[in-house]
Amino acid sequence: MRIQKHPILNFNRGEKITFKYNGSEIKAYKGETIAAALHAAGIKELKKSVKYKRPRGLFCAIGNCSSCLMTVNGEPNVKTCTTRVEEGMVVEEQDGKGDLSD
């Protein structure tokens, strides 16, 4: 959910864009991170733990903890908390550790 009114901050949101998350279209603003855009759309579950497949979400939001890794435009293990969303980007939940073979 997005904050509409704030006593101190003005959010100058960028241009509206659309990206794909697991096949469905999500609206976002240019300049925000993938994780922030997914949160705004109510999506908190970003990946599953490798061994026990437990759901994981955003934890640190500054690129330290690996809890938000996803596959972005085919590339696995992208830190969605520090990667900005782009028009037409394809974001998918990744299966396990991700394949880097090519």
Binding site: M1, I3, P7, F11, A40, G57, F59, C60, A61
Partner: protein
């Protein structure tokens, strides 16, 4: 000069070194400069002249502007230092390239990471570090959930609770394991006035939820930190925010062979250094939270001190630079005066100087 980390300490160091004519590269992992400052909407306490009364976001803007206007400073954003090698070469991944750097002096200002708390289901989506909640709310204008339980009543826990209220999020309560509130009472009073209960002597027993947090179970603690059976309370929340302290991000220092020592008052393992912030690796200086958890005003002063010390070490002579260094040291000393700085002073006292570092390191292992 090579600076790792573009938070308050790193930026202050870069600005100061550039003032003295040094060429500086700052490496920052994020695409924004300013570190934690860019999400701090509260007004600062602390040193009289510089930052008191100003919001963190404003301080960050001023620093960003100085960096932008300096011809001596090169900023590498979205860049990560990958390693430190024996011949004092740093490797950095930046713009899809693997870069190698051999710097004259290196200032490591990597900051800190949030501490985790162990309890069942602590990995559920909906459980965040307090810094992440600030990032979501104050940078991107996105709320983490509808109803939050805050764990920890230190200044971060209290301030972020207030910021959640400002963003229109309900705060179900703040719990604190200690018998007393950890942070400044002025912050605690603000959230209490808004009707948020603060439960001292309480801990979180577990989080409940299938795919994300639905409830938190809290319980009372005895004076010996045991959970009191039958004291459980179920609180309906979709978000649990952890504000249980920070730990210095010393990984790069370890790789560079810097000795570290465990000082709980400073947040855990920290690098012993001399009064000019030089570590046991004489090419490397530290500043900010990586040197011990404090707050942004101290980080800025430490950044300046580390930069000036490195500039002197690189051959700058004269009374002016030495005089300025003394002024910064005095400001740091003043900042840490009084009851608020007691913990920091106790921690710093345990650092006996780098000549003792090896001995101190091993004396902490039982």
């Amino acid at each position: 000069m090579f600076i790792v980390g573009g938070g308050p300490a790193g930026l202050a160091a870069a600005i100061k070194a550039a003032e003295y004519g040094k060429k500086v590269i700052i490496v920052e992992k994020d695409f924004k400069l300013g570190g934690q400052l860019i999400k701090q909407t509260h007004r600062f306490f602390g040193s009289k002249e510089e930052c008191a009364g100003t919001r963190g976001i404003e301080i960050a803007k001023k620093m960003q502007k100085k960096i932008k206007n300096s011809a001596n400073i090169d900023v590498w954003r979205e860049a990560t230092v990958q390693g430190y090698y024996e011949d004092d070469v740093l490797t950095v991944s930046h713009e899809n390239k693997f870069k190698k750097i051999k710097a004259g002096k290196i200032i490591i200002a990597t900051g800190a990471a949030e501490k985790m708390l162990t309890f069942p289901n602590n990995d559920l989506p909906g459980i965040y570090g307090a810094g992440a909640v600030q990032t979501l709310m104050n940078i991107y204008g996105v709320v983490p959930g509808k109803r939050v339980l805050m764990i920890g009543s230190g200044n971060i826990g209290l301030i972020v609770s207030y910021q959640l209220l400002q963003a229109g999020v309900e705060v179900a309560g703040v719990i604190e394991a200690m018998p007393e509130i950890g942070g400044y009472l002025v912050h605690a009073a603000k959230i209490r006035r808004a009707g948020v209960p603060i439960y001292t002597g309480h801990t979180i027993k577990k989080a409940v939820g299938e795919r994300c947090v639905q409830q938190a179970v809290i319980c009372k603690l005895t004076q010996d930190w045991n959970q009191v059976a039958g004291s459980e309370k179920y609180i309906d929340v979709d978000t649990i925010c952890l504000a249980v302290g920070l730990r210095p991000l010393i990984d790069l220092l370890l790789q560079a062979g810097c000795i570290t020592t465990y000082i709980p008052e400073l947040g855990g393992d920290i690098p012993p250094r001399d009064e000019n912030l030089r570590t046991t690796n004489n090419k490397i200086y530290v500043a900010g939270d990586v040197a011990g958890i404090e707050e942004a005003t101290a980080a800025i002063l430490e950044g300046e001190l580390a930069a000036i010390s490195a500039v002197i070490e690189m051959g700058s002579k004269g009374d002016r630079i030495k005089g300025e260094r003394q002024i910064i040291k005095n400001k740091l000393h003043d900042l840490r005066k009084g009851p608020v700085g007691a913990k920091i002073r106790a921690g710093l006292k345990k650092i006996r100087g780098i000549e003792h570092a090896t001995k101190d390191r091993y004396s902490h292992i039982g």
